[in-house]
């Protein structure tokens, strides 16, 4: 018995109790989705996940996303299987389910954990030697179709360096990458310098949705050898107003954007040093088909229509057959061998 009247409790127990209370209080203040995700992890680890099925596909999708952010991939996969797959035709849910079912193993030599506040995240290949730099252009929702933590599993299998890019001003990358400073041209220069500093054998670009527009334009200006567009715009007509508002909100002048930058076809036709391009889109998605058609006939451009596919997002159509891997490998192979 200790002399302070606290019985047989070890001297650190009081502090521990306070610590636990703080954890409980902090947990109570978390958003419901995060609290539920933590409960799912606990249930998964104790083999009682079946007792916590999602009560709706919408909520299930949010919780799966939380689990992915927490890197609880096993729990996310099991939770997705437990009840939300096929529960509703909710765009995005199928993509998460398909990605989790076909997810490549993590690469311990190319670790990555996404910080959604960052617009440039570089994952350098650990081995010496020349290899391509892949610039990954996120869409307006700041993801690469799926959360970057998942997408990285596919990209890390390639023998490349990877840089994940976000346009936090949501102006289709026409103002460049904010953290690289300056304007569009300064960002292109900085990305070329990055490739040089890595001793990269070349640059390739891949974009999803609005990121495709950035991949095309910046890809042209950094002399990329290949650009892979996973649906997305090739010209900005209706979205032009959004770009101009975004520039104004950011304290930039919309008048500073050269007119030709709103239409990648014009730029590609005029360029004497253009990358090879693949634009993959759903054959039954009229908007994406029209955007792809805008590049039709340009030398070096290949339009790949997925038969019968109507959604804007194409990754879930590509993953099960291995076509997602094939397109990525095609992209990397556009870099000339040393």
């Amino acid at each position: 018995m200790s002399s302070d009247g606290r019985g047989d409790r070890p001297p650190w127990s009081e502090g521990r109790r306070h610590g636990l209370q703080q954890i409980v209080r902090a947990t109570e203040q978390l958003p419901e989705s995060r609290r539920e995700a933590l409960a799912v992890i606990q249930a998964f680890e104790s083999g009682r996940l079946a007792e916590r099925p999602p009560d709706s596909a919408i909520r299930g999708m949010v919780i799966v996303n939380e689990l992915i952010a927490l890197e609880a991939i096993g729990a996310a996969r099991a939770y997705a299987r437990s009840g939300i797959q096929g529960a509703a035709d909710v765009d995005g849910l199928e993509l998460l389910s398909v990605a989790l079912e076909h997810l490549p193993a993590a690469s311990p030599r190319m670790p990555f954990r996404d910080d959604s506040a960052l617009d440039l995240q570089l994952v350098r290949h650990p081995d010496p030697g020349k290899r391509p730099l892949v610039l990954v252009f996120c869409g307006l929702a700041q993801r690469f179709a799926m959360p970057l933590n998942l997408a990285h599993r596919w990209l890390a299998r390639l023998d490349v360096h990877v840089a994940y890019l976000r346009d936090l001003r949501r102006v289709y990358y026409l103002a460049g990458i904010r953290s690289l400073g300056g304007d569009y041209d300064a960002s292109c220069t900085a990305l070329r310098d990055l490739a040089r500093s890595l001793d990269a054998s070349g640059i390739v670009c891949v974009g999803n949705s609005a990121g495709s527009f950035g991949a095309l334009g910046i890809g042209l200006d950094v002399h990329a050898s290949g650009v892979l567009c996973l649906s997305g715009p090739t010209r900005l007509d209706q979205s032009r107003g959004d770009v101009e508002r975004g520039f104004t909100d950011a304290g930039l002048s919309p008048a500073s954007i050269p007119e030709e930058r709103f239409d990648q076809r014009q730029r590609f036709v005029r360029s004497t040093r253009r990358p090879r391009v693949r634009h993959v889109h759903g054959a039954r998605n009229d908007v994406d088909s029209a955007e792809a058609a805008n590049l039709a006939g340009v030398s070096g451009v290949e339009l790949v229509a997925i038969p019968g596919w109507v959604r804007h997002s194409v990754v879930e159509a590509l993953i099960p057959s291995g076509a997602f891997d094939e397109h990525l490998r095609w992209l990397v192979a556009t870099v000339p061998s040393a």
Partner: protein, 94 residues
């Protein structure tokens, strides 16, 4: 239950601001589809879940696509308001 809560566009804007960062939510056009302004289906689900949590409302899975803009979220709940299981009385409209 019908008509217990009249959600406002500003309340939906607040929900958007709570889950999607970097937007000037006050400037968002209430009628534009979410996907056009950079809110994908995952963001949309987070927005709807935030509304469910705050206001004790509930979106049926099959109605996800009906809630594809700020204005349509308001219309959806105005036309078909249900109370989530175990939720308290819905908050009054702002």
């Amino acid at each position: 239950m019908h008509g217990e809560t009249q959600l406002t566009v500003d309340q939906v804007r607040d929900a958007v601001a709570s889950v999607v960062h970097g937007f000037d939510v006050a400037a968002l056009d209430a009628e534009r589809p979410f996907f056009e302004i950079g809110i994908d289906s995952l963001d949309q689900a987070q927005v709807l879940m935030a509304i469910e949590e705050r206001f004790g409302l509930r979106v049926a899975d099959g109605d996800f696509e009906l809630c594809d803009s700020l204005a349509n979220v308001v219309r959806y709940f105005a036309s078909r308001t249900t109370t989530a299981p175990g939720k308290a009385t819905p908050a009054p409209a702002a």
